[in-house]
């Protein structure tokens, strides 16, 4: 149980990486942009991959009537997410600590993991909803109003995961270092749960 508890303390701490590393990265390459433009999505805001990328993406997007990329103060998520992550890290490590001194049992580990997963899915849902709005809620006076082959207005929602071709741009959206930290941390808590259960069962066998 000691090993499992330590894992449970460490796992949530991996989420601290989200304060440093981006959760998600969206890259935009085009013939005129051999060095692609890109944005890093952090839990507290959107940042350039290379300096001035946001300014240049906004500059290009104004042609098709997209809103400028949100500043941290433009979206409640960027002030709330860091708090949620902080609380979850605290709770997770606390659970591990209490388990270490025998105050809690291993099923709490899974409980934390499930809550974190639900929050993660909600976050993804929210992120996707923003991208839908960003890519489809276009200025009616846009300079370029393009239509799909079926006549419907063209929209520019970046993919949540993977690659899409949008006009002259190749858009690639993938989880970034922060997401891998979160994934690793969460997996550690699952391992902690199974180790805890195994330990519990073997204990039962011997008693």
């Amino acid at each position: 149980m000691k090993k499992a508890s330590i894992l449970m303390i460490l796992g949530p701490l991996f989420l601290v990486g989200l304060y440093v590393f981006p959760l998600w990265t969206i890259m935009l390459g085009a013939p005129q942009y051999p060095d692609p433009l890109g944005i890093h999505i952090h839990i507290d805001g959107i940042r350039d991959v290379n300096e001035f990328d946001i300014q240049n993406i906004d500059g290009l997007n104004h042609y098709i009537g997209m809103k400028t990329l949100p500043k941290p103060e433009d979206m409640w998520e960027f002030s709330t997410f860091p708090i949620i992550i902080g609380v979850m890290v605290f709770l997770g490590s606390l659970i591990g600590l209490l388990a270490l001194i025998g105050k809690l049992k291993y099923p709490w580990f899974l409980g934390w993991f499930l809550i974190m997963s639900v929050l993660g899915v909600l976050g993804m849902y929210d992120f996707n909803a923003w991208m839908v709005d960003y890519g489809t809620n276009l200025d009616p006076n846009a300079i370029m109003k393009l239509a799909n082959p079926d006549g419907t207005p063209m929209t520019y929602k970046p993919p949540l995961f993977g690659h899409t071709k949008m006009l002259n741009f190749d858009v690639t959206s993938l989880p970034a270092t922060g997401a891998w930290f979160m994934f690793t941390g969460m997996m550690l808590t699952v391992v902690a749960f199974f180790l805890g259960r195994k330990h519990q069962r073997s204990k039962r066998l011997f008693t």
Binding site: D35, Q55, N56, G59, Y63, I143, M144
Partner: protein, 650 residues
């Protein structure tokens, strides 16, 4: 099983025969295809060397890639350049200021890349203006001219702009001797009265700023070319001379009478020390010092009023003359600093002096008289050897890193490779035609990068499709990595390349700037954000603070301008994206358009002469909406009371 083996051997044998055939073919017909491969830089790939070719009478410097011979940029230095507005924009007009006023042209001859410990360091490239004596420093991160200093008491700044091995000094030796100071006197009293100034301009190690430290007033010879000593001879500078006859007319005959002229060896360290200790004479002078600041994007011109001159006889042991046959032109120092090569341009042979022998001759006082108090060393005492070239008219020599030298021959139109030490000729290849300078990247330093050699020719004739009587000069690229030189490629150049300088691409590629930062823009008339765009009037001067971003000007409608106004358009490009300049031009502009780089501010003056509504537009195809990037200025009569107003999107 055995049979199979034999047949395989048989096949191998056949293959050998075929390969053998191919090999023998290669030395003839297939040669051209292998040369093609050597210069072919596939689409999307980059050259491995930069080459900076002087533009001669274009006044500018051109940037090429090797081995492809593709031109990347023309850097305006001494000439007005409407392409970018250099010399036309308010910010760059001061760069062409001189004591003669605004001089919009010069004859740019000899680029030299800055060095540290005798090796190329790629910070700056220096160039000389031959006609109205000037030196310029070009940044190798912005590839723009940052500084121009005029050289007083000089004329025909030809033995320039060569640098010492830690870029302590860039020299400017005069080709034409003149009265110093200038005065009204009969021309035929030249002899004994005219002086040849050798100017030593220091380079500040941190920012490259130039300062004329001292001028050595030499006898009235013609100081043709020069090279720094390096390694063991660091501290010395060598200048070739002609017209030691001091003729003032029909020089082609009168200045070719002496069998030997001189290479002047100047111990600049000794003179530097002499000046530091208060030596030399302060002389009144008047010369321009023009500096362009990367952050204000603005050039300023200051007139300097004084120069320190040094009489060479006052500094014993600082200057010696090395007799060198047949009006030497090129004066080149090998990478070890041991040999000084003098190319008598009317000769078949190349004279090589030894630095060690020179020092010994000085020590042993092996003199052969003196000229105006400067000791002449005995020719035999300093001579290291003679290259019996078999060619005619040697001019310039560069070096590889394998102990070989390469000398151009103007009259016999060829490059000759010879061994430094044995003086034996190893190879020769024709040039097309009448080669002047040659360049090996780093071939004028302690560390040559000797893969390619570029020969720059004076005569083109039939090399390209004809373009009427006037043609660009031709250049050839040779592969010199093998024992024999191999002609690879032939390409036209721009203007008249005299000398060139080259370096490995990786020295400059990483530090080449992509944009200027808007947040570092300290221009006096910057428009830091579009909401600060405005128009201000004071008297008949109107200042338009205008910003640009794809694809509009802010403001783009201006009213209240009157005939007779002087309208200054200060354009700030708000792009912070690589390679997105915007241009600006307006109908009836008496200057040129301006091309404004991202983050930069440039100013153009417009003096409207006619009432009307006049358009302006972006001259650089900046974006899909480039054609829409335009605006109007309403010009009212001089006595009108139309109020000053400006707008965008109203």
């Amino acid at each position: 099983m055995k049979k199979v083996r034999y047949s395989i051997l048989g096949l191998l044998g056949l293959a050998m025969v075929f390969i053998g055939c191919n090999d023998s073919g290669k030395s003839n017909g297939a040669l051209s295809s292998s040369a093609a491969e050597k210069v072919y830089v596939a689409p999307g790939e980059r050259d491995t060397y930069y080459a900076f070719l002087s533009g001669g009478y274009s006044g500018n410097l051109t940037v090429y890639g090797l081995p492809s011979g593709r031109m990347f940029k023309e850097i305006p230095v001494f000439s007005q350049f409407p392409t970018s507005g250099y010399g036309y924009s308010e910010e760059t007009k001061p760069m062409l200021n001189t004591s003669f006023g605004f001089v919009p042209w010069d004859d740019l001859h000899h680029p030299d890349i800055s060095q540290t410990n005798g090796e190329l360091d790629g910070r700056w490239i220096f160039v000389n203006g031959n006609n109205t004596p000037r030196l310029a420093r070009v940044s190798l991160s912005t590839f723009e001219t940052e500084e121009i200093i005029e050289i007083p008491n000089s004329a025909g700044n030809h033995s320039s702009s060569f640098i010492t091995e830690n870029t302590e000094y860039v020299v400017a030796g005069t080709r034409f001797s003149v009265p110093v100071p200038q005065r009204d006197m009969p021309i035929n009293e030249y002899k004994g009265n005219f002086k040849g100034a050798l100017s030593f301009v220091s380079v500040a190690p941190d920012n490259g700023r130039l300062n004329l430290e001292f001028q050595v007033l030499m006898p009235g010879f013609n100081y043709d070319l020069s090279r720094p000593g390096r390694a063991k001879s660091h501290g010395w500078f060598f200048f070739s001379t002609y017209n030691t006859e001091e003729a003032n007319s029909l020089l082609e005959v009168m200045a070719s009478q002496n069998d030997k002229d001189f290479i002047a060896a100047v111990n600049w360290m000794k003179i530097e020390e002499y000046v530091k200790n208060g030596g030399g004479t302060k002389m009144a002078a008047n010369y321009a010092h023009n500096v362009y600041d990367e952050h204000t994007h603005t050039g300023t011109s200051t007139m300097k009023k004084e120069v320190i001159t040094v009489d060479p006889t006052e500094v014993p042991g600082a200057i010696y003359l090395l007799p060198t046959p047949k009006s030497p032109h090129g004066c080149d120092v090998d990478p070890t600093g041991q040999y000084i090569i003098g190319s008598g341009k009317l000769s078949a042979d190349i004279t090589v002096h030894s630095f060690d022998k020179m020092m010994a001759a000085i020590e042993g006082e092996k003199f052969d008289g003196e000229a105006y108090g400067i000791p002449i060393l005995k020719f035999e005492e300093v001579l290291a050897g003679t290259v019996k070239s078999g060619g005619l008219g040697p001019l310039h020599t560069e070096f590889d890193d394998r102990g070989n030298a390469y000398t151009t021959f103007f009259i016999s139109s060829e490059v000759v490779k010879w061994n430094v030490g044995t003086w034996e000729v190893l190879d020769r290849k024709p040039t097309y035609y009448s080669v002047g300078h040659l360049m090996i990247p780093g071939g004028n330093s302690r560390k040559p990068f000797a893969k390619y050699l570029v020969a720059m020719n004076k005569i083109t004739k039939d090399r390209y499709l004809p373009t009427g009587p006037e043609m660009e000069h031709s250049a050839q690229i040779y592969d010199i990595s093998g024992e024999k030189m191999e002609l690879l490629y032939d390409f036209p150049t721009h203007g008249e390349p005299h000398y060139a300088a080259g370096c490995p691409a990786e020295l400059l590629e990483p530090r080449s700037k992509k944009i200027y930062r808007l947040d570092e823009n300290k221009h006096a008339y910057v428009t830091p954000s579009p909401d600060q765009a405005r128009v201000e009037r004071s008297g008949n001067e109107v200042h338009v603070y205008m910003s640009t971003i794809r694809s509009h000007f802010t403001p783009d409608n201006i009213e209240g301008i009157k005939v007779g106004d002087k309208v200054y358009f200060h354009i700030t490009n708000h792009e912070q994206d690589f390679d997105v300049p915007h241009g600006f031009s307006i109908i009836g502009q008496n200057t040129s358009e301006i091309l404004v780089m991202p983050g930069q501010t440039k100013t153009t003056l417009w003096e409207p002469k006619q009432v009307g509504v006049w358009p302006f537009y972006c001259t650089d195809f900046c974006s899909a909406l480039h054609q829409e990037m335009q605006g109007y200025v309403r010009v009212s009569p001089a006595n009108s009371n139309v109020e000053l107003s400006w707008s965008l999107g109203e």
